[in-house]
């Protein structure tokens, strides 16, 4: 909630404290000059993005690249053929994409709502067993969920949620809760109580208070929680592998593993790089785009969860 003051490397300005801010954001002077930083930083940033860019390029190359490799000449020969193949009904990736979207969006929205309500209660309201409940909600963070897969599949079976996307969504939301409730509670802790009291004096009910005051003020936290929920749903492999058995329910990461195995000759793994990279791109683009669209929030959201 602090105003971030831009600090050009090499400057020092008087530190400023404001309100409930954890302290000034002012840095000491950087050790390297800004020109070096711009060049070095840009190079490293590109290096970090290079694998993604390379795969994106690779996915637009024709089958001849399987034998010839990728060179500058490849840039003249781009084709969408790989995408035509993976979206062809014979491979049927469309269903997996749709399933992944359903799971990711549901996890994102559910997590955001559930964590905001719980975070508000834990941050603002004194109620019995609040401490114990907080510990229970944080539990999944300490116990490795991979270990819980077996009993979880039994519980899901009893609830009739095995082999259903709903089951996967509910499990993933639960796994997101420790992080999400933590972030939301700390974000809401950082909002002055006075604002809330003022709204209440003006006669705002709880619904209106949350909608018009708390959620807008806690927006970076809400967005971060939703974004990480989306990521968890979109990228999940293990829950899908374990809980989903019919192919029409498969999600994209599961489809990715299938696309390699279906081109396998016993003993020899024949990977079709064109298909693989195109599918990897489809599995990457939505989540990266969403992240880039929401990137101004995530730092603040995560910080709200780590520093008080």
């Amino acid at each position: 909630m602090t105003t971030l003051t831009p600090a050009a490397p090499g400057t020092t300005a008087p530190a400023r404290r404001e309100g409930r801010a954890p302290g000034s954001r002012r840095r000491g002077p950087a050790a390297i000059s800004s020109a070096t930083y711009v060049v070095g930083g840009t190079l490293l940033a590109l290096a970090s993005l290079a694998p993604v860019l390379y795969i994106a390029l690779r996915s637009f190359l024709p089958a001849s690249a399987d034998a010839d490799g990728v060179g500058w000449g490849s840039l003249l020969d781009l084709t969408a053929a790989n995408y035509a193949r993976i979206f062809d009904p014979s491979v049927g990736i469309t269903t997996y994409v749709r399933n992944s979207f359903v799971v990711a969006i549901s996890v994102a929205l559910l997590t955001a709502v559930v964590a905001t309500l719980a975070g508000y209660a834990l941050s603002r309201i004194r109620f019995p067993l609040a401490g114990l409940i907080f510990v229970v909600l944080l539990g999944p963070m300490v116990v490795p969920y991979q270990g819980l897969l077996t009993p979880l599949s039994i519980v899901l079976g009893k609830l009739g949620l095995l082999d259903s996307l709903t089951g996967v969504v509910l499990v993933l939301v639960t796994l997101q809760l420790p992080f999400s409730v933590f972030v939301m509670r700390n974000t809401l802790d950082g909002i002055p109580v006075e604002l809330e009291e003022a709204a209440q004096l003006d006669g705002a009910g709880l619904g209106r208070l949350l909608r018009s005051v708390m959620v807008p003020l806690a927006w970076p936290g809400v967005v971060t929680v939703g974004l990480f929920g989306f990521m968890a749903g979109w990228n999940d492999l293990l829950s899908s592998v374990v809980f989903l058995s019919s192919e029409d329910k498969y999600t994209l990461p599961l489809a990715l593993t299938n696309i390699t195995t279906s081109f396998k000759i016993p003993g020899v793994q024949i990977v079709d790089p064109g298909l693989l990279t195109a599918t990897a791109c489809v599995a990457t683009v939505p989540v990266v785009v969403l992240f880039l669209a929401l990137q101004r929030y995530y730092t603040k959201g995560l910080i709200g969860g780590s520093i008080k």
Partner: protein, 314 residues
């Protein structure tokens, strides 16, 4: 920045009338608001956890009779050489990965803790791998590391370091280090942000004071920044250690645990026992052991960091 829609008036003392009843209503409201989260946690975490404990003391085939087994599953686990091997492999992976990954995260945090357009571009670029799924990232790596045409093999060949035909995932040592590199690239962003946040919260006055005392950049990092971000560092360390011990996706996709089980991780082995061989009771016991190890390591790390941290608030 979002602006509140509520009129900002000064807070007035809360009315004292009917306060107790209001408190009761608020308590009920609190429970109501927390109940969706609580129900999810109870159904999909606490119940399975209890079930896990029960199962670990039972012989629990997928079909057929469930029977109590006492400590049999645990006894079997302690005599299971394959599990020991998988556990040692996961531990080795953790030992190799965590220091490297934290070092990279720390350096990246130093790079991105400032302000400005370039800094924020660099920060975003460093964080992008985090949002990509491990499955997709692992397949990207498999294409980039293909013998002959994979871009990394091509680069190594053009630098004269290899013949470009390296089959990275058929050799346990090579696949181990390839997956370490992949995991550092993919995972360092989260710790970077947490450490960065810690660094940004260090008051500027402290730096100014250190500078007046003649401390150079390295000295300020070591004696001012690092001690002040201990808490964030501890959090990152614990998250990294427990996350890495539970490594699954990368190896599942890239090596399938092979060649001949050399890269089978503890979670992969547990998964195989439960969902390939359907020894659910035994799988549960293995999970319990993993959980115990992770909790013990987390407690140990907290202790160690606190002991070194003096009067650090936790």
């Amino acid at each position: 920045m979002v602006v509140a829609h509520a009129p900002v008036t000064r807070a007035v003392a809360r009315p004292g009338v009917g306060r107790r009843r209001a408190a009761g209503r608020r308590a009920a409201l609190g429970l109501l608001l927390v109940s969706p989260a609580l129900v999810l946690s109870v159904v999909f975490f606490l119940v399975p956890l209890v079930l896990l404990v029960v199962m670990s003391f039972a012989s629990w085939p997928l079909l057929g009779q469930v029977s109590p087994a006492g400590l049999e599953n645990y006894a079997r686990a302690f005599g299971d050489g394959t599990f020991a091997r998988a556990l040692v492999f996961s531990l080795l992976f953790t030992v190799a990965l965590v220091p490297l990954s934290l070092l990279v995260s720390y350096a990246a945090a130093v790079m991105v803790r400032g302000e400005g357009r370039v800094v924020s571009f660099v920060r975003t670029a460093f964080f992008v791998p985090v949002v990509i799924g491990f499955t997709a990232a692992a397949y990207m790596a498999s294409v980039m590391l293909m013998p002959g045409t994979g871009v990394i093999n091509v680069l190594l060949r053009s630098l004269g370091l290899s013949d470009g035909q390296t089959a990275w995932f058929t050799d346990p040592t090579r696949s181990f280090w390839a997956i370490v590199a992949l995991t550092v690239w993919k995972g360092m962003g989260v710790a970077m942000i947490l450490l960065m946040a810690g660094m940004q919260a260090v008051p500027g006055e402290v730096y100014d004071a250190a500078k007046i005392d003649g401390a150079g950049w390295w000295r300020r990092e070591a004696s001012v920044t690092f001690p002040l971000i201990r808490r964030q560092f501890a959090l990152c360390l614990i998250l990294a250690v427990s996350g890495t011990l539970l490594v699954f996706d990368q190896f599942f996709v890239l090596t399938k645990g092979g060649p001949s089980g050399a890269t089978t991780t503890a979670v992969m082995y547990t998964y195989a026992q439960s969902f390939v061989r359907y020894n659910l009771g035994y799988g549960a016991a293995l999970s319990m052991i993993l959980t115990a190890i992770i909790l013990a390591l987390a407690v140990f790390q907290l202790r160690a960091l606190r002991a070194g941290g003096g009067e650090e608030r936790s």
